[in-house]
């Protein structure tokens, strides 16, 4: 029976750099990386490839919110990272962008750690995944619903690109920040040593190399008109101006890096049929299995 030798199993979460980071005084970035090529059981073990698994905490004047729960397997580190950024404040809300485990798998742990915290988002299905959670702590949000953090509102927006139907994005009206779940996610190599580095902090060549590897894990992208959806995103930006982008797989993109990153990704999506299939969700040179490539979280 073919089994991967134990010494060939690649342990994930090989993070260089430090988490958490205070990207801004009111924006903390938490998390780490996952080895997106470290699939168990593979006969052909591949070089370590990093997939950032990121959560953000917005420290509003009166209330706090965490955007996604962080990857389930990072909890051993995330719990302490939360303590560090909250500095004794309670976590009031956790936004669950969609039900995928690397995005919201820590929900039960977070609600146990913070008894006053409520989950917000499209919270359908979570009661069968977390039957230990009182239903009143799962607060349903719809497109354009919002929360007041005192000095800003957090708006919930229907996502344009989704890997699960329930995906919502979140928008901070003060920071003009959009949390885009799986959109604007990037892969990096171990030797690039950029785990906790924001795009605008990277040398130009490295920034280009990283943004050449967008994670676009959305099944069916090639089957419908992406130019229309790119236009929809530009319309969204008109109504909700974007100065900072974060996602479950990106450190905050801000400053001079923001507009080039937007333009580059939208151009890639508009021409998605011209991309090699594996680039939709993998790393050039390492095409994963399956009809359209492998899947990222």
């Amino acid at each position: 029976m073919p089994e991967l030798p134990k010494d060939a199993v690649i342990k994930a979460y090989v993070v260089q750099g430090q988490f958490p980071r205070m990207a801004l005084p009111d924006l903390a970035t938490l998390g780490g990386c996952s080895n997106s090529q470290g699939w168990p059981g593979r006969a052909d073990a591949r070089p370590v490839t990093h997939e950032p698994c990121i959560a953000n905490v917005i420290l509003g004047r009166d209330r706090t919110i965490m955007l996604d729960t962080g990857h389930y397997a990072l909890w051993y580190s995330l719990s302490g990272q939360l303590d560090a950024v909250l500095q004794g404040r309670p976590l009031d809300y956790v936004f669950v962008s969609h039900q995928e485990i690397p995005h919201t798998g820590n929900l039960g742990r977070l609600l146990k750690k913070y008894p006053g915290c409520k989950a917000v988002g499209d919270v359908r299905d979570y009661h069968i995944f977390h039957p230990e959670i009182a239903l009143e702590r799962l607060v349903q949000m719809e497109h354009c619903d919002e929360l007041d953090l005192g000095d800003r509102r957090i708006m919930f927006l229907d996502a344009i690109w989704k890997d699960l139907q329930t995906t919502l994005w979140a928008y901070d009206t003060r920071l003009k920040l959009i949390f885009s779940a799986d959109t604007f996610g990037y892969i990096h190599h171990a030797d690039e040593n950029v785990c906790s580095t924001m795009l605008h902090e990277m040398p130009r060549e490295l920034r280009e190399a990283v943004t050449d590897r967008p994670a676009l894990p959305f099944f069916g992208m090639r089957n419908r008109d992406q130019a229309a959806r790119v236009a929809a995103f530009r319309n969204l930006m008109t109504k909700y101006p974007i100065e900072i982008i974060t996602s479950g797989h990106t450190l905050p993109i801000m400053g001079p890096a923001t507009q080039p990153a937007i333009d580059k990704l939208l151009a890639a999506i508009a021409n998605v049929e011209q991309l090699p299939r594996f680039l939709q969700s993998g790393v050039p040179g390492h095409p994963p299995d399956g009809p359209e490539g492998g899947q990222l979280a």
Partner: protein, 332 residues
Amino acid sequence: MNDIDRRTVIAGGTAAAVMALLRSAYADAIAATVPARARGAPAAGSQRAFAGNQTVTPLVPGRLYRVGCVVRAERLTWLPQDLDGYEPLNCYVLTDAHNLVFADMGAPIMLPAVQAAVDMLAGERKVWLSFSRNEADCIGNLGYLLGTCQGPTLLFGGAGGILEWINDPHVDMLEVRDFLGRIPIVESRNDSSREIGEIRLRWMDARLKQMLMTQWAYESGTGCLFTSEAFGFRHLATADSPVVIDRARDLPPVATVAREIAQRANWMREAQYPDYLRKFEQFFRDNDVRMLAPVHGCVIRGRDAVAAHVMLLRDAMRAASALPDTERLRYA
């Protein structure tokens, strides 16, 4: 009808009594008086979700079992909001004299049924675990099974560091102790097959899916196709309605099914996918499928019932293409 289904223990009880008696251990603080329930509100005054009919039901005696529960058809993403009924949540167990294979492992709310399946069926059998998707409705009890069964082997055909997405049930939830390096893993890639004793499994790319890496599995001995979320469009009127459909009539309308599958596979709306439809039809021409086993909704059993539901789903997949793309329209 069978000697395992727990409902037989309380045969004669009303649906409400069944639900009350089989209320999940998670449910507590039931209100003394239950006010009239608004649509979409939690049922029965519970502060927590609950499931009834946690059962292990033979589909092919001695070979194939449905393991699962029934929940109110509310707060579930794949269902229309106006559905007034109940929804089966399922996983499956295949057995021969020496082996037991889980085909998906269900959502955490159905843990009592999964525990019952292990208690009743595992014995000295070697346990194998196969799953269709890395989502909590399919692998929600994977940690429990890896942590409690004797020498389990994971059949892995997906992607991602799956063993890091779950936890050992014997450690506190605030700790992390994964199974990397401890669990034997056998690959089950698409278009591969494996004989596990008398159980003959073949895995393939799902012919209807939302998540990129979704597998169907076909077991030729029973003719059962494990379809993940596909074919999950038959629901229950009452909590104790049969979870197996063997009729080819009284089918829901194509438009209803189209809306429901696009609720899950949102990429189908305004999309063109002729190759996808061709592969779907070709699969059912090439394989003698006698049972459809989804992770939610009713099991569909018998060649005639299967054929009718395959045609219905094919027509619904065609119709879903004409549905409006609501995400695009929001920002038009």
